[in-house]
């Protein structure tokens, strides 16, 4: 059970949260303008990096907010969490390889 720092409520146990998949995949503003392949990329293709991963979490059994986290998928340590809508921070953990794009 990981400890995840909700940007509002602070450090809380993982069971209060719901994982939300890769972050920074915005829903296209005009889906009808996309080709099938572009739409499939949005729907299905994921970076799935071994290393730093920007991902969404929701403090569903807490304040209910979605937020983003940078997590090392090898060690499962979180490097940082940040509010939804904020840009992905620079990697502040040089010991963690960032293969995420």
């Amino acid at each position: 059970m990981l400890i995840i720092t909700c940007p509002w409520c602070g450090a809380r146990p993982e069971t209060e949260f719901r994982y939300g998949g890769e972050a920074h995949i915005a829903r296209p503003a005009d889906p009808s303008a996309l080709t099938d392949q572009e739409w499939a990329d949005f729907l299905y293709n994921r970076t799935n990096p071994k290393g730093l991963h920007a991902e969404r979490w929701r403090h569903i059994h807490g304040c209910g907010r979605y937020f983003n986290a940078l997590r090392d998928t090898v060690s499962d340590f979180l490097v940082t969490t940040y509010k939804a809508g904020e840009p992905r921070p620079e990697n502040s953990r040089p010991d963690v390889e960032g293969s995420g794009r």
Binding site: E14, N45, N48
Partner: protein, 416 residues
């Protein structure tokens, strides 16, 4: 290949077992192969074996970052069954079960395929309809699967608690030809048989890159032991598929999750079959050694850490203790994790890729072991012919673009 048999065992015992030879070589990589398979798990080794056996392609290397069979092949709960709903899936897994049934003899290696039956429990009306849909579809596809009522479930598997529980068992779907096999033996058996046909199994050799030519086609793989030239590269890297495919510039419809399993201390035979409950999330069977082999769920988040959370294992064991309350005093001996790669429709991809010469076999999620021989067989066909076998033709990458999903999970999992 040294033959394995009771007689050989007896004969060599007289010599103190001094004359056994290595089951596979430990070769240095050659500069060039016809085919390089990335990943020496059961699927990759099976592919190499069938490339050699069925297609006469023996200049093959299987390269492996660690030791062969050390990934999900050696970490799973060894369940084999083929009672899938959709025609495409049933054909694929049934192909595998047919190979399982003769695999020990084919490989001359006892993989201990034991058709102990796989019993999937229904706890509510929705389960019942879903399982009956499977049973009828399976029968029409020539796959054995039968509906048991609650009393028949109890009769087939007497240790089960069917009544005094939160979600009583109202029936189940039984595939009698389903069962278990010995996971290590599958990897070793394929390794030994492939090796004897000339395949080089190169362990401790990590892929660092996939080299592509000016036309975009594959030229070979960069490894921790140097560049290996090959016109065809088959990736069979399970949880690490996204990482390997990224080396060729491909983004995959995959996410890798930790999956846990555990065993109890060994006890005398106390559980006769394989039981699965998707509703309360528990899988259990008893190994030949006497351990209760139990599959837990995946963690919620993607990870390459190869370990799962305590609460996931705990939820699995509360379900097991409901199903078999007399096992509450058994003790967990060992708990471990693997990395499973999951596709959006929970069905595998066994296909050509947009990169010429690059093939991929991935996305088996929590159920790859059961498909090992069948998957290797059709993947070998796909690589050898540069075209899919009829069985794996639907399992393309393009199905996600075009919407022709093979969504077993969606078809079974929606509650109302």
């Amino acid at each position: 290949m040294q033959k394995f048999s009771g007689f050989e065992l007896f004969r060599r015992a007289l010599g103190g077992h001094k004359s056994w030879q290595p089951q596979w070589r430990n070769p240095e990589p050659k500069a060039e192969y016809d085919v390089v398979i990335v990943g020496a798990g059961g699927h990759g080794l099976a592919c190499a074996y069938y490339l050699a056996k069925e297609h006469g392609i023996t200049n093959v290397a299987v390269i492996e970052r660690g030791w062969l069979g050390g990934g999900n092949t050696g970490r799973n709960t060894t369940i084999v069954r083929s009672n899938y709903l959709f025609d495409e899936s049933a054909a694929l897994y049934e192909h595998a079960v047919k190979l399982w049934e003769g695999l020990s003899q084919d490989l001359n290696y006892n993989v201990m395929y034991s058709a102990r039956g796989v019993l999937m429990l229904a706890h509510n009306h929705h389960d019942e309809i879903s399982f009956k849909r499977h049973v009828h579809a399976n029968r029409l596809n020539g796959v054995d699967n039968e509906w048991l009522n609650a009393e028949q479930v109890k009769e087939f598997c007497p240790p089960l608690n069917i009544k005094s529980m939160r979600y009583p068992i109202i029936g189940g779907a039984l595939q009698r030809r389903g069962g278990t096999a010995r996971h290590d033996a599958v990897a070793w058996g394929f390794a030994r048989a492939a090796d004897s046909r000339g395949v080089d199994i190169i362990q401790n050799c990590e892929v660092k890159g996939i080299r592509r030519g000016p036309d975009g086609a594959v030229e070979g793989v960069e490894t921790s032991r140097g560049f290996i030239r090959a016109k065809k590269v088959g990736v069979s890297a399970a949880g690490h598929t996204s990482v390997v495919m990224a080396m060729a510039g491909l983004r995959m419809p995959l996410e890798s999750y930790p999956l846990q399993a555990l065993v109890s201390e060994p006890v005398k035979p106390a559980f006769p079959t394989v039981v699965m409950s998707n509703t309360i999330h528990a899988y259990i069977s008893q190994s030949d050694k006497g351990e209760m082999v139990i599959g837990a769920g995946t963690d919620a988040y993607t990870s390459y850490s190869q370990r799962g959370a305590l609460h996931i294992a705990a939820h699995t064991l509360d379900a097991i203790c409901e199903l078999v309350p007399q096992f509450r005093r058994l003790r967990m001996l060992r708990n471990w994790g693997g990395i499973v790669d999951v596709t959006p429709d929970r069905s595998p991809i066994i296909a050509k890729t947009p990169v010429p010469g690059l093939y991929v076999n991935c996305g088996w999620g929590t159920g790859g072991f059961k498909a090992t021989p069948g998957s290797g067989h059709v993947f070998a066909h796909t690589i050898a012919r540069d075209a899919p076998h009829a069985i794996n033709a639907p399992f393309t990458l393009e199905r996600f673009r075009d919407g022709f999903l093979i969504d077993e999970a969606a078809a079974a999992a929606v509650a109302h």
